[in-house]
């Protein structure tokens, strides 16, 4: 019996000891970090004049100096962090000038030394700051670091630092290789990281599109969103026919966003694609090309199993003049199920836009649609048909 009690008593002592240690370190951490913060605050204030000096003369011809007088280690860190904050916000020669200041002040070489520190935490924070300072000379060392790094959130910190600092395209490519070798589908993240580069991105992306590694191609495709790069259209044309499902979907979407002239066969093929993203993208683009010949295709697509495809098709039909709108009205009146739902929603949406047409031609187009609408649904029913579709078995979202 007593042995049980002894065990419990040991447990109590054990807890007491740990609690004591924990409380002491809590106070120690708190007091230390408060003191540190106060000091930083003080330094920021002390150098306010200097910061203003830097910001006033960023445009000048001469190099920027460090503040006069001796600086403590923490003081240097405070100044460095401020410089990094600016570098992150600017581009162009002003940024180069700040980068040069970081180099001249020795911040870069100090942090490169820290990349070999025994402590992991110091290595990571050094890499982060080096990225902030766009330190090209640190890239080879950071690439090795990235290669050794197990996949974790910090992989991305290092990759970002490399992307910011790299001065050659092949360094970026190597970075992407290390980043994607873990087999995770992180193309969006990789694209975002890639676009942090200060290098000419359109040439880089073109090169990546030619790469044999489908992951790199995909990163390039994703990165191209929102960047009109006309040079890449031929490369996209090739990728539209590729077997990689993800790559094809991205390529089709991008390709269509450049508003190309498509052959009817190609359209039909793409509208029958097994990937709904492809079908949705095509349906959407058909509305912009004003090709009345695509109305039958869009009409069929209103029955697509995917909601996005149906919705895009209806939207495109509404854009295709009177004929297209009439098809919508027909289905909204006489159709059934999911097909009718998509059409109805679109018809009502078009009718709602009434007040928004200021230009004459828009008014005319609207009034034509309104006439059609009244033909199908009657004038008296000017109150919109408010109803929510019945519960159905649509599991695409």
């Amino acid at each position: 019996m007593d042995s049980h009690l002894t065990l419990a008593i040991y447990f109590v002592y054990f807890c007491l000891g740990l609690i004591g240690i924990g409380m002491l370190s809590l106070f120690w951490f708190r007091i230390r970090s408060n003191r540190m913060e106060k000091k930083q605050e003080l330094y920021l204030q002390k150098h306010q004049d200097y910061f203003k000096f830097i910001q006033t003369h960023l445009n000048g011809a001469s190099d920027l100096p460090l503040p006069p007088g001796k600086l403590t280690k923490l003081e240097r860190r405070v100044i460095q962090n401020k410089l990094i904050e600016w570098i992150e916000q600017f581009k162009g020669e002003i940024r180069d000038k700040l980068v040069k200041l970081c180099q001249d002040a020795g911040f870069v070489s100090e942090d490169i030394k820290l990349l070999d520190s025994l402590f992991y935490g110091r290595r990571i924070s050094a890499a982060y700051r080096l990225g902030g300072m766009r330190a090209a000379e640190a890239v080879p060392r950071m690439l090795i670091m990235l290669e050794k790094q197990r996949y974790s959130p910090l992989t991305i910190v290092i990759a970002r630092a490399i992307a910011k600092s790299a001065e050659r395209g092949d360094q970026l490519k190597e970075m992407l290789h290390h980043l994607l070798r873990h087999g995770k589908p992180i193309h969006n993240m990789a694209a975002d990281i890639l676009m942090e580069t200060g290098l000419d991105s359109s040439r880089l992306l073109l090169k990546l599109l030619e790469d044999e590694n489908p992951d790199l191609v995909k990163v390039a495709l994703v990165a191209m969103w929102g960047q009109a790069v006309p040079e890449v259209v031929p490369a996209l044309d090739r990728l539209v026919g590729t077997g990689e499902k993800d790559v094809r979907a991205e390529a089709v979407k991008l390709y269509l966003s450049s508003n190309p002239v498509l052959k009817d066969d190609t359209i039909r093929e793409l509208m029958a694609d097994s990937d709904w993203e492809v079908r949705a993208a095509v349906a959407k683009s058909l509305g912009n090309t004003h090709a009345a010949g695509s109305i039958p295709l869009l009409r069929t697509a209103l029955q697509d199993s995917n909601w996005r495809v149906r919705s895009n098709s209806a939207e495109s039909l509404a854009k295709l003049g009177e004929t297209g709108f009439e098809v919508l009205c027909q289905i909204a009146k006489n159709g059934s199920g999911i097909e009718r739902e998509a059409a109805l929603h679109q018809v009502e949406k078009a009718m709602l836009e009434e007040g928004e047409h200021q230009k004459l031609d828009q008014m005319v187009a609207y009034n034509k649609k309104k006439l059609l609408y009244e033909r199908y649904f009657g004038v008296s029913e000017s109150k919109p048909v408010r109803q929510v579709a019945a519960v159905g078995g649509d599991y695409t979202a």
């Binding site: 419990a8 708190r30 992150e88 935490g121 924070s125 982060y128 975002d192 649509d394």
Partner: protein, 483 residues
């Protein structure tokens, strides 16, 4: 003679049971210590990823997945405007806010319509991916292109969320309580975590903190401070322990059983695949996570349910006994229901960590915890009453209880200090230490009692939601300032 033999036997039984309860408590805490050890292992990574990620590129990028925020609101007319305004100003590229008015008896819908000039949409496109009650209508104003308000008859929180899912346009959904404020970066932090591993991540939970006592301005927490009242203060230390001490560790071994209903991010396709939220009972936030675990494991899909402690949601904690006890009873009821529904997962190796660790832990050490503790205490009190010379046994039982619990609280405070450093004042630290300690003199016991009452309610089929009165954020911050 016979009588004294009887007493001896009784004493032995009581003692053995008391010792058993002591060991039980020690085991619970050892398990908890191991979970917390995982938290400590991860805390520096969490600190670094938060410190070394700037969101200036991500927060404006087309590459970030779009998110639909679902905000169920039931009788929230005082706080809802402030919350929606806060949600509309998040640091995030593409998202929509869907407020679901769950048949409020107050003017929740009216204040929303007036504030944002909302008009009913003639043909709202509801996808019926999940069964939910038929809605009345959807309100919208093109001037606020990212805001939708669904009006529906009362059907509970789960049903509201399902309705929101049916309207939502984006692949990720996030459920947010209408009485919570998100930090500006909260969503982008979660999205960053999602983008790190988009295929396997099915859900991410956020950190919930107590806003009572903080100064709130323009829908944002301006000044962080601890609550001044007693009840919220207890909850503040309790949340700290549960979220930092517990969930970081559980998520490390992918055994997280709950993503707080106040703030979580989900992949919509999987939520639909498991049939959406389950209505009828509280605890739908735990239920959806269990279902997701079950679905992914049964279909042998690789997945993770993650916890993102740097994504913070500030919530209004109940500050009166009545509301708090109602909330806790509701939790107790919901948990019991979830455990009973999913008892088959426990000890089933098919369900891996979930089956072998999380579920047993939650059944044996969470749901049944108050019974063991209270009966153990009673047994030892009885034992001591029979023979006062053995008071030491009682003292040791109580000390084990207190100290191991307190150690966990101190550990949670350390985690907070290492990674987040949100509370700057030394006096705040002292207060948290103090409240963590006196929690064991009354509050912890009350917690156990509430849980038992919740279980009783469940068995009696009492299924009311209980009341929660809201105070407007404005008033709150006024009182915070004046104090």
């Amino acid at each position: 003679m016979q009588q004294s033999e009887g007493i001896t036997l009784l004493r032995d039984i009581l003692l053995i049971y008391g010792l058993f309860a002591t060991y039980y408590v020690m085991t619970v805490n050892v398990v908890y210590f191991s979970i917390m050890a995982f938290s400590f292992r991860n805390i520096m990574t969490i600190f670094r990823r938060a410190a070394y990620s700037k969101f200036n590129t991500l927060s404006g990028s087309e590459l970030v997945p779009s998110i639909s925020l679902l905000v169920p609101a039931y009788n929230e007319e005082v706080t809802v405007i402030e919350n929606v305004k806060c949600l509309l100003t998040l640091n995030y590229p593409t998202y929509e806010v869907i407020v679901i008015n769950d048949g409020s008896s107050d003017d929740t819908l009216g204040v929303l319509r007036r504030e944002f000039g909302l008009e009913p949409l003639p043909n709202p496109e509801m996808r019926n991916s999940i069964d939910c009650q038929t809605i009345n209508s959807v309100y919208y104003n093109p001037q606020y292109p990212h805001l939708y308000v669904i009006d529906k008859p009362n059907g509970g929180k789960a049903d509201s969320l399902n309705a929101g899912i049916n309207l939502s346009h984006y692949p990720l959904i996030s459920s947010i309580d209408a009485d919570s404020l998100l930090e500006k970066d909260a969503l982008i932090r979660m999205a960053r975590m999602y983008m790190e591993n988009p295929e396997e991540t099915v859900a991410i939970g956020g950190d919930v903190r107590i806003a009572n006592g903080c100064v709130i301005e323009n829908g944002a927490v301006k000044e962080i401070s601890l609550p001044r009242k007693m009840w919220p203060m207890f909850q503040a230390v309790e949340y700290l322990k549960a979220f930092l001490g517990g969930r970081i560790g559980w998520s490390h071994i992918n055994g997280l059983i709950i993503v707080s209903g106040a703030f979580g991010l989900f992949r919509k396709d999987y939520v639909i695949a498991v049939g959406g939220y389950r209505g009828g009972y509280p605890g739908e936030d735990m239920n959806i996570i269990i279902k997701l675990h079950r679905y992914m494991l049964e279909n042998k899909l690789k997945y993770r349910i993650a916890f993102c402690p740097e994504a913070v949601c500030w919530t209004q904690a109940p500050d009166t006994y009545r509301i708090l006890s109602n909330q806790r009873k509701r939790w107790g009821r919901g948990n019991l229901k979830n455990m009973i529904e999913n008892y088959d997962m426990a000890f089933n190796p098919k369900y891996k960590v979930m089956g072998l660790l999380t579920m047993p832990y939650n059944i044996i050490f969470e749901a049944l915890n108050p019974y063991f503790k209270i009966t153990g205490l009673l047994a030892l009190i009885g034992y001591t009453m029979l023979d006062m010379t053995h008071w030491r046994v009682l003292a040791v039982f109580w000390l084990v209880n207190f100290l191991s619990g307190y150690l966990l609280s101190i550990g949670a405070l350390l985690l907070e200090e290492l990674a987040f450093k949100r509370f700057k004042k030394l006096s705040d630290l002292v207060r948290m230490m103090f409240y963590s300690a006196i929690k064991f003199f009354g509050y912890a016991q009350l917690g156990g009692l509430w849980r038992i009452q919740g279980h009783i309610q469940y068995l009696r089929n009492n299924n009311s939601w209980g009341t929660m009165t809201r105070q407007s954020w404005q008033e709150k911050s006024d009182t915070a300032k004046s104090a």
